[in-house]
Symmetry: C4
Subunit: 255 residues, 4 copies
Amino acid sequence: MADTPAGRIFDTMLLLAILTSVAVIMMESVQQLELKYYQLFHTLEWVFTILFTIEYVLRVWCSPKPEKYMRSFYGIIDLLCVVPTYLDFLLGGAHFLISIRILRMLRIFRIFKLVPFLHEGQQLTLALQRSRRKIAVFFFFILLLTIVLGSIMYVIESGHNSGFTSIPVSIYWAVVTLTTVGYGDIAPITPLGQAFSAVIMIMGYAIIAVPTGIVTAEMTRMRAGASVTVRTCPECHKDTFDEDATFCKYCGHHL
Amino acid sequence: MADTPAGRIFDTMLLLAILTSVAVIMMESVQQLELKYYQLFHTLEWVFTILFTIEYVLRVWCSPKPEKYMRSFYGIIDLLCVVPTYLDFLLGGAHFLISIRILRMLRIFRIFKLVPFLHEGQQLTLALQRSRRKIAVFFFFILLLTIVLGSIMYVIESGHNSGFTSIPVSIYWAVVTLTTVGYGDIAPITPLGQAFSAVIMIMGYAIIAVPTGIVTAEMTRMRAGASVTVRTCPECHKDTFDEDATFCKYCGHHL
Amino acid sequence: MADTPAGRIFDTMLLLAILTSVAVIMMESVQQLELKYYQLFHTLEWVFTILFTIEYVLRVWCSPKPEKYMRSFYGIIDLLCVVPTYLDFLLGGAHFLISIRILRMLRIFRIFKLVPFLHEGQQLTLALQRSRRKIAVFFFFILLLTIVLGSIMYVIESGHNSGFTSIPVSIYWAVVTLTTVGYGDIAPITPLGQAFSAVIMIMGYAIIAVPTGIVTAEMTRMRAGASVTVRTCPECHKDTFDEDATFCKYCGHHL
Amino acid sequence: MADTPAGRIFDTMLLLAILTSVAVIMMESVQQLELKYYQLFHTLEWVFTILFTIEYVLRVWCSPKPEKYMRSFYGIIDLLCVVPTYLDFLLGGAHFLISIRILRMLRIFRIFKLVPFLHEGQQLTLALQRSRRKIAVFFFFILLLTIVLGSIMYVIESGHNSGFTSIPVSIYWAVVTLTTVGYGDIAPITPLGQAFSAVIMIMGYAIIAVPTGIVTAEMTRMRAGASVTVRTCPECHKDTFDEDATFCKYCGHHL
C-alpha cells in the first residue's frame, strides 16, 4: 500500500498469509498429509479465502478508480485467488481449480515492488526485452526445426520402436532432445535413429549457444555502453559508467 | 508474390493452407484419430495436393525464367510438397513419404520473407555465418573426441553391461553424455566406467562453453562495432561492417 | 602454518592425511570393501582422528587468541572433523555423522591458501560476487516459476500418471525439466502434458541464457576494464577497478 | 610429408586408409557384422597393419633424427597403431587392445596440419589455453563440491533408495546431476532428497555459467583487443583488426 510503517507491517502480514496459503495448497496435494490434517487444511483454506476476499473488497473500495484496478493485472490475480474456493464449495471439488489457487504465488510480486532488488530485476527484464525480437525469431526457428526433425525420426523409428507412436509424440521427443533435457522415456533404438539423434544432439549443442549469445551480447552492451545509467561528466563530456562514482574518473570533476 | 493487397491475401490463404495441411499430416499419424477421421484426412490431403499442384503450375507459368525457378531451392520444395501424394497413390503407402510431405513446413519460410522479423533473422544468420569455420573445427573435434571416448568406454563396460553392445552404440552414448542430454537408456555400471563417465561429463561441461563463446563473441562484436548498419562501399561493392570506418578496407575508397 | 620449509612439509603431510582420511570414509561406504577391510578402516579412522585432535589442540594452544580461532570458520571445521568419531564411539553408529566427517574435505582449502592458483579463484569469486544480486533475483524468479509450472502440470497429469503424485513432487519435476537435467523418473504421459512440457523446455532453454549472460558480462567487463590490476586509491583506500581512471571516482584524488 | 603433389596424394591415401581402418574396427565390434564378415575384417586388419608398419619404418628411416621422431607424440601414436594387431596375434584376443587400435583416429590430426581450418583451431586452442588456470580452479572446485554433495545425498537417501549404495556412487550421481546430464539410473526418492536435489540442480544451472563466462570473455577479448592478428596502420597508428583489410579503414593508407 503505502510506504508508512503501518503499510510495511500490512505487507509483511500479507506476505506471510500468501506464503502459508500456498504452502497449505501444496501440502493438501500430498495424500498422506491430506488424510491426516484434512480438517486443519480445510479451515485454513477458508480463513485465507475470507481474509483475501476482505482485502480485495477493501482494495476496490479504497481505489480512486475501482474499475481500473479491477481490470488491471493485479486486480484479476487478486480476484482469481479467492474465487476458486467459493467455486469449489458450489461445484464440489473441481480438480483444475488448484492451479488457479496457486496463482496466489503471483501476488508476492506485488509486495516485492518495495524491495531494493527491483533494480536488478529491471535490468534483467530490459536485457530480455531488447532481445525480444531475436528470441521470437529463434523460437519460431526451433519450432520449425523440431517439427521437421520429429517427422523424420517418426519415419525412421516407428514400427521398430514402441516410443515413437505418432508425429506429435516424435516432435515432443525432438524438443526433449534438442533442449538437452533427455528424459529417456522415448529413446531411439535403430542404428539409423541413433546416428540421426547424435547429429540432432550436437546440433542442439550449437543451437544452445544462440539464445545465450543474444542475451549476453545485450547485457555486455548494457554494461559497456549506454543502457540504463550512463552518466556523462559535465566537465570533460566523457561517459562515466559507474553508478557509484562521485567524481569523474577522467578529469576528477565532482559529479 | 507481390506486395499488393491481393498478394497479401493470397499469402495469408497459402499460409493457412500450409499450416492446415501440416496439421492434417501430423494428426494422420495418431492412430486413434486416423481410425476415426480417415475419410476426412484423405479428402483434405487430396484437396491440398491439388491446390498446391495448381499453385506450382501457375508459378512455373508466370515465372519469367521457368527453369531457374524449378531449379531453385523453393522450386524444389514446392514440387516435393505435391509429388508424395501422387506417388502414394501409385505405389500404395510408402512410409517414408510422410517425412517428405512434412517438408511443406519449409514453405512457410517463403511467406515469412514479408515479415519485419526478417532483419533479426538476418543478424542471427550473420553471426552464425561468421563463426562458421570455428564451429566446423569444433564439430570435427567433437566427432574425434566421441569416437575415442566411445571406444574406451566400450572396452571398459562391454561384458559387464548390456548397454554397450558395440563401438558405434558406445559412440552414440558418448554423444548423449557429452551434450548433457543423458537419456539413461545406456548408462555405465562398473565403478571404472562411472568414474570415467564423470570425467567425460565435467569435460562436456567445459566444452559446452566453446560454441557459446564463439557465437557470443561474434554477437558482442556485431553490437560493439556496426553490424546493424552494414555499409556497402560504392567503389568495390563489398560490405564493410565497421561503423567507424572512414575508408573502405578493401579498396581504400573514401566513404 | 608458516611459509618455512618445516611449515611446507607439515602442510604436505596434512594434505596427505586429509586425502587418505576422506578416501577411507568413502571406501567404508562401499559394502564389499567394508566387509573385507573392516579392521583396517576402523584402525585408520582412529589414527586420523587422534592426529587431527592433536593438531586441533596444538592450534588452539599456539593461537594468540584461542577463542577467536575456535569461533572462526576453520576452527569449527577443524573441530567437526574429529567430534563425529568420538560421538560414533559413544552413541554407536549414527548414520548422519558420515556427512559431517566428510567435511574434512573442506580443510583442503586451508592448505590451498598457499597455492598460486588463488588469484584465479579470487577473480572468479569477484565476478560471482558482483553478479550476486542479479543471481539472487534470478533464483527467486526460478522458484516462483517452478511452483507455478509444477502446479499446472500436477493438475494436467495427476490421475493419468503415477509420477505426478503431489504438487511438491511436480515442482521437483519442474526443476528437473527447467534445468535440463531430465532424469526421466517422472515424465509426462498425456498429450496436453507433453505439449506443455515442450513449452517449459524451450523456455528453460532461453532461461539458461540469463545466468550465463550475467556472469559473462561481468567477466568481460573485468577483462575489458582493469580487474587484474585492482588499484587502490591512496587517499580514500577504496578499490578503483578501471585501468583508464586518472582520478579516483570516489574521492576525486589524482591517481 | 611435403607440400608437393606427390605428398598430397600420399596424404589423401593415408587419410582414406586411416578412416577405413577405424571403420573396420568399429564394425568388428558389432556382433552381427562380425559373424558375417569375420574373414573380410580379419584380412583388412592385417593389410592396414602391414601398410602402417611399412609407413612407420619408412618414417624412421627417412627422418634425419630417428630417435627424436620415435619419442615424439606422433611417433608414439604411429607405433601404437600397429603394435596391438601383432600383440593380438601373440597373446590371443586381449580385449583392451581395441581402444589402443582406435587411437589410429588421432593420426588424422597429422594430416590436418595441411588444412586451412587450422588457424581457427589455433584461435580456439589459444582461448582455452589462456583460460587454463581459471578452468583448473573451476574443476578443482567442482570436484570438492561433488564430493561434499554426494556424501550428503548418501546420508539422506541410502537405506530408502536402492540407487545410492555408496559414497562413490553418490558422487557419480552428483556429477551426473550438476552437469545436467541426468541419466535417471540413480534418482532421489525421499522428499528431503528430492528437495536437496532441486537445490543442487538450480546451483548447477548457475555454475554452468562460469566456464562459459571464462571462455567467452577470453574470446571477446581476443576479437576486441589484441590477441592473434592485430595490425597497426603505419600511417595513422590506429589498430585495424580485420585480417582481410587491404587499406586502413581510418586513413585509407595501403597496408
